[in-house]
Amino acid sequence: MNSTVESTRARSRRRFGIDTVTETGVAALFFALLAVVPLFADDYMIYILPQYMLYGVLAMSLALLWGFTGIVSFGQAALFAIGGYVMGLCMGLTLPINPGYVGIVAGAAFSGALAGIIGYFLFSAGVRSTHFVLITLALAIITQQIAVSQSWLTGGWNGMFVARMSVSPGAQGSIPGDTVFYMFILVFSAGCYFVVRHILCGRFGKILAGIRENEDRLTAFGYRIDVYKSAAFALSGVIAGLAGSLYATTSGFVTPSLAGVLFSTQVLVWVAIGGRHSLLGAFAGAMLVASLSSYVSAIIPDYWQLIVGVLFILVIIYFKKGLAGLVESVGRWLQRRKAA
């Protein structure tokens, strides 16, 4: 009897798959922890972690599609890379305001618009999820090919150097140090997380959950699901583009491989390991796997991909909800012990 009451209560707090109260708490704690990292971390960590955070934002853009809407995309890397190249081009311009911010906005707008247009063409023609996967795969390949072949614009195989942006809005701001930049990216990532979370908790998010659960039913209610799916893909493009533009200026470099299928697959692995039904899970999963990969690859360069692969398979078999699901069950177990 007790357990039914408890589970009913737990469920009433869940809003379309998101346990809002708990996740907000955990997210606040997580970002607060990241904020104190520079106090004791070494220079390399302060330099590299912002890049991993942007991987996390990229992972959120996929979780939004995969976990919340039920659409898998292999094209997230392409949208990320496009944001990066747009940023690179903007940083080369002489503008009356800080070109970095122009690059962020332009990168997000470009990737978002591209995703929205592609999405609308496909979804309004009735393309289902399975075919959508293949087409996004092609998007990744095409984007990489263009980045290679149009070397006058992109630098070809050699890639493109991107200067680090200044944080101040004026055109002649000074280049920030690693710690300032770390905080800048952290604030941006946390902002992204809370904005997307807010969107997913509202009307739009509920409709996406409906699409994931039963799109035919939703159509028969009179919803234009092609419009909602395109909007979801566009939003995902905006987030991936934002992350990509900042990644370019953070790492100082973009190359065609950033757009490729290999990188897209990595994003999928991050999200699966982190938990596709949780934005925070996806974010943390990306940071964790990326850090782990670089750490392990330094020790055993030949086998690290194998280790990540095995981890992926274990997660798929034993923890379908990823790390986020694991944390959730541990939390519930603790609660039950406290109650007993």
Binding site: T8, F16, I207, A209, G210, R217, T219, A220, F221, G222
Partner: protein, 241 residues
């Protein structure tokens, strides 16, 4: 006599060589209900699918509220009040009953409070208020049918197309479902077309009945007349009565 809410003229559907429906003339007035019965493969679901827009007819015309909707999309028809319950309950399994109901309600109401009130009203009507926090997956088969019917009410439907609403229900549930259909017609003024195999349920509904056989209308009338019709007994009811 008021104008019919729905009218089909010479409606037909052909799948290559197979004639699924042909020459169906059908009329339904507002705030009334009608049953369609017939053996398996008689074309009942095909007929319903053409009205809801899931299939497009190969001949004939569908008029709804004096508009020609023959070539209109599912979305267009749904937005004008044609709502369909599928043969197997089609709900959102992982969402709670409340969340299920929010989705159709949000289509017609923008304000959060209005959505809330609408959901509450419908849940009470379809006897699912107590179960509002339960995932749809955990409902009984009968409750899932009610949830789907409720969702059609929540989306402001004027014409309900119910494909086997009493399938898999206990005797008590069937009686409750018949009462529910009567309430929807009587209190809310909705028009309903019900496809059913279960003759006890059809009798409870107490509506006019159309018998389909091999894609065409065999006969039409009140239940007792239809049930006593020699031809109906031959093709369909013989083994049930």
């Amino acid at each position: 006599m008021t104008a019919p809410l729905l009218e089909t003229r010479n409606l037909g559907k052909r799948f290559r060589g197979l004639v699924a429906n042909s020459g169906i003339d059908f009329r339904l007035h507002p705030a009334s209900s009608h049953c369609i019965i017939g053996p398996n493969g008689a074309g009942k679901t095909t007929f319903l699918s053409m009205i809801s827009g899931h299939l497009s007819p190969t001949e004939g015309e569908i008029r709804y509220r004096d508009m020609d909707v023959t070539r209109r999309s599912v979305v267009y028809r749904a937005r004008h009040g044609i709502a369909r319950k599928f043969q197997t309950p089609s709900v959102f399994p992982e969402l709670t009953v409340w969340q299920n109901m929010e989705l159709p309600a949000m289509r017609v109401e923008r304000r959060r409070k209005a959505v809330h009130e609408r959901v509450q009203r419908v849940l009470e009507r379809v006897r699912l208020w107590e179960h509002r926090q339960v995932a749809a997956d955990h409902l009984s088969h009968g409750q899932r049918q009610w949830l789907e019917v409720g969702m059609l009410v929540a989306m402001n439907a004027q014409l309900l197309l119910l494909d086997e609403p009493a399938a898999g229900m206990t005797k008590e549930e069937k009686a409750a479902t018949a009462t529910l259909v009567h309430e929807l017609v009587g209190d809310l003024g909705l028009a309903t077309i019900v496809i059913e195999h279960d003759m006890d349920f059809v009798r409870l509904l107490d509506t006019r009945v159309t018998v389909l056989h091999m894609g065409s209308v065999l006969t039409e009338g009140v239940f007792d007349d239809v049930a006593n019709d020699e031809r109906v007994r031959d093709v369909y009811l013989g083994n049930q009565l």
